[in-house]
């Protein structure tokens, strides 16, 4: 593996070939905000918050750092007026769906995002896919998946699998940026297997 030297926020960073810009930045201790990224999972490029400005041979373009490989002599700016403006709008759009998510609120303060800019459409899920991908890639149970498309897309537990696997796992719960996952699970449990988890409580 050959080494690649690039510049992130004015700092020389050495990275291994094949690494993403996001990984390189993290390894150098430079923070890039993310919502759908998880180190154990394949990059998803769903939230787009990790967008950064990349300069190569005099031209500046916007790249999504979690799916962009490092290149020699790349000059990355993780904060700029352009990047901040895009992140602000993205956050405002996400906040229309999950206005009370602590993770989104923290980022909103940082980027000056106004959670009332867009009409509220509280679906709570922001489609980061962390639960779906964690269950498929790490736990390998596929107890939760996406259904639908576009504005009607949502996460959905598979009752037959969830009733057997989820009560002893729940590893995806802390990953959810909005807590909608927990709500979806409780709903599935109440509808499809109401008696299985009440037993341990009655001790």
């Amino acid at each position: 593996m050959s080494e690649v030297i690039l510049q992130i926020d004015g700092k020389e960073v050495s990275a291994t070939e094949g690494m993403t810009v996001l990984q390189a930045a993290r390894s150098a201790g430079i923070f890039i905000p993310t919502l759908c990224y998880h180190e154990k999972l394949e990059p998803f490029a769903g939230c787009r918050l990790c967008i950064v400005e990349a300069e190569a041979s005099g031209e500046s373009r916007l790249i999504v750092s979690c799916v962009s490989a490092v290149e020699k002599d790349l000059v990355i700016k993780t904060r700029s007026e352009r990047v901040d403006r895009i992140r602000k709008t993205l956050l405002e759009l996400l906040l229309a769906h999950a206005p009370d998510s602590p993770k989104l609120q923290d980022l909103a303060v940082e980027y000056g995002a106004d959670k009332n800019r867009f009409e509220k459409d509280a679906s709570f899920c922001v489609h980061c896919g962390l639960c779906v991908r964690y269950c498929a890639e790490v736990v390998k149970k596929n107890a939760v998946g996406f259904v639908g498309r576009g504005t009607k897309k949502e996460i959905c537990f598979v009752p037959e699998i969830a009733s057997v696997e989820c009560n002893d796992c729940k590893e995806c719960f802390p990953l959810c940026p909005t807590s909608y996952l927990q709500a979806a699970f409780v709903l599935t449990e109440a509808l499809a297997f109401p008696n299985t988890s009440s037993e341990p409580d009655s001790e």
Binding site: V132, A136, N142, A143, V144, G145, F146, V147, G148, R149, C156, V158, E160, I161
Partner: protein, 150 residues
């Protein structure tokens, strides 16, 4: 649709998980919809998670998880048909069939669906029944067209 026929379809794709969509499409085409038993069989044979099947069959409009009628009625509500009075055609269809767009009647005769543009805007408003296009249609003609189907 019996399990043997589903197995035949799966076998014709050598049971490969990468042919999941093609297999589902063939079952959909022959059976008109995807019953749960069929999906369970596909899942067992291809060894794919049920969440992936769910994702696919709810993503593509070509798939239906509920029984469909013998005749597929499509009313174009694209921009051109809309300004040429597609809503009146839709109202008429809903009045005759007694169901709303997206539904199937109890006799499984008609499934009514609104569609985007069907690509012949000059013929708007357009009504499609089982793939046959009826252009420049009026509410009165709509009634006659639907009556000709059993």
């Amino acid at each position: 649709m019996d399990i043997e026929r589903i197995d035949q379809i799966i076998d014709s794709h050598r049971g490969e998980a990468s042919s999941l969509i093609q297999i589902l499409l063939e079952i959909q085409r022959e059976n008109g919809w995807l019953p749960r038993e069929a999906l369970d069989r596909v899942r067992e044979r291809l060894q794919v998670p049920v969440s992936r099947i769910q994702h696919i069959v709810t993503f593509y409009k070509a798939f239906s998880l509920v029984p469909r009628g013998r005749h597929q009625v499509h009313i174009c509500v694209g921009t051109a048909c809309h300004v040429r009075g597609a809503t009146r055609i839709l109202d008429k269809v809903e009045e005759i069939t007694g169901i709303k767009a997206g539904e199937t009647d109890l006799d499984l005769k008609f499934s009514v669906e609104t569609v985007g543009c069907v690509g012949c805007c000059a013929l708007g408003p357009v009504l499609e029944v089982d793939g046959k296009t009826h252009g420049k249609i009026t509410p009165t003609e709509t009634a006659a067209v639907l009556k000709s189907y059993e």
